[in-house]
Amino acid sequence: MTAAPIAPRKAGTRELSLQQQRQRAAFWFLAPMLFALICVAAWPLLRTIWFSFTDTTLSNLYGGKWIGLDNYLSMRTLSSGKVIYRGTLVDPAWWNAVWNTVRFAITSVLIETVLGLIVALVLNAEFKGRGLVRAAILIPWAIPTIVSAKMWAWMLNDQFGIINDILLSVGLIDQKIAWTASTDTAMYAVLMVDIWKTTPFMALLILAGLQMVPRDIYEAAKLDGINPVKVFFKVTLPLIRPALMVAVIFRMLDALRVFDLVYVLTPNSAATKTMSVISRENMIDFDKFAYGAAQSTLLFAILAVFVSLYIWLGRVDLSGDSKQ
């Protein structure tokens, strides 16, 4: 794994050989991971993309014929001369799912980032029992999603759910609300549970970022008597920005692929059906495997666009060249 150290000689050649040595080491460091990724991840991914250009079904997984782009868009001229379009790209259910997912992802990631920041700042402060608090806030993330989603479904039940009971007794509502049944509130219910569940993820990653910020910076700011709010925006935020950016990217990827939560909480509700849910529905339930694969591929493309946009707009430093 390690390259032999090269004894430093002259300054000029040392620079070059050191750079070479580091690059060789980098290659060996990257090799095992890349090998594993290519072997394991590339096959299923490429296969799904390939399936999306065929008419494969799960009843006949190996007998699919190449049909080009028909799963995405096809045009047929009827005998009456009327032209009709078929395929995912003109499927209103798909676009409804895209819209639902994007709306869900943007709202949830925004709220989770803000809340995650607040929680992380609190946890970063010195106070008694913060070890316990830290463990406590991680609980939502630690409960298996299939369980917590069912648990929330139970709590959100209109007749014997505890949420309605609390809200009723506090006086916030005057009659029991059917949270997951009504199309108006279904999305709020899903958002609420998702925020509850994934804020700890954000908070923990941001906290790690905060911990990497040296204390003496704060000390210096304190001595200079700078307003803490100003310190946060001028000093802390820029310093934790890389960590924050990465946390947001991964939250966004997960939010755009959200599946189990919606699947358990509001199955089949058109108001919350997301891209992953509709893709699964086609692949498995409807035996339109290739059609679902096409939707998965589109989902992949949409995600790639989102991430690229985010990286470009957020000026995330991918290559890290500015640092060295």
Partner: protein
Amino acid sequence: MTTQKLLKTTAFYALVVVIVVFSVFPFYYAIVTSFSTGTELFKVNYFPRSFDWSNYTRVLGQRNFAQSILNSVFIATTTVVFALFLAVTASYALARVRFRGRGLLLMTILAVSMFPQIAVLAGLFELIRFIGIFNTPWAMILSYTIFTLPFTVWVLTTFMRDLPVEIEEAAIVDGATPWIVITRVFLPLLWPALVTTGLLAFIGAWNEFLFALTFTSSETTRTVPVAIGLLSGASQQEIPWGPIMAASVIVTVPLVILVLIFQRKIVAGLTAGGVKG
């Protein structure tokens, strides 16, 4: 001044309480529910009526539930070890060594996280049967390690990039190899990031359901979420809330303990005098 300070402290603790209540209340409700049985489950209770342990004895007495916990511990731990090892070495290369195409490489790695789980399921299933690890823990370890890598690599790359150049240069002048630089110099500084990513990867592996269900076919190789999914009432339609809640409490407690053990490390970071690069 002092009243202002008092006000501040009170506000701060109020915030802490709000955060804790919001996070913990559903779990608390799960605990309350885990002590109820029968019709009691359909009533709103804020406190446990009685401490009826029958749901717990039923879960723990279930065939192979203990085995499932052991499987999950083994799989999650191994996954974290592999993932962190691969990610630390890879992120050193990606963060500290200059070579062409680093940005592209990072994006390619990220692409692995861009497919819905269900879409890779069929291909991965074929692959696992092809390698011959179907129905063994390695099927899960392999898939979890691969699909957690983008996350671990990206996080560690970000954090490692922020470490000051001077520390590394000093080590190199002393004749340290990259491996030494990673293990002796960087790792101690990276504890918060390592523990955090490790913890998140552990929880991810601990809770995964779909792969675990698909890649196993016998009771003795199943993991905790699948074992919970296997809890059932006396009939198809009945959902056994009591035992499910008891099982969730049982499987969440080890994670809480894990956090309590490692949380010191989360804050052990750069307090030892590191300087931002």
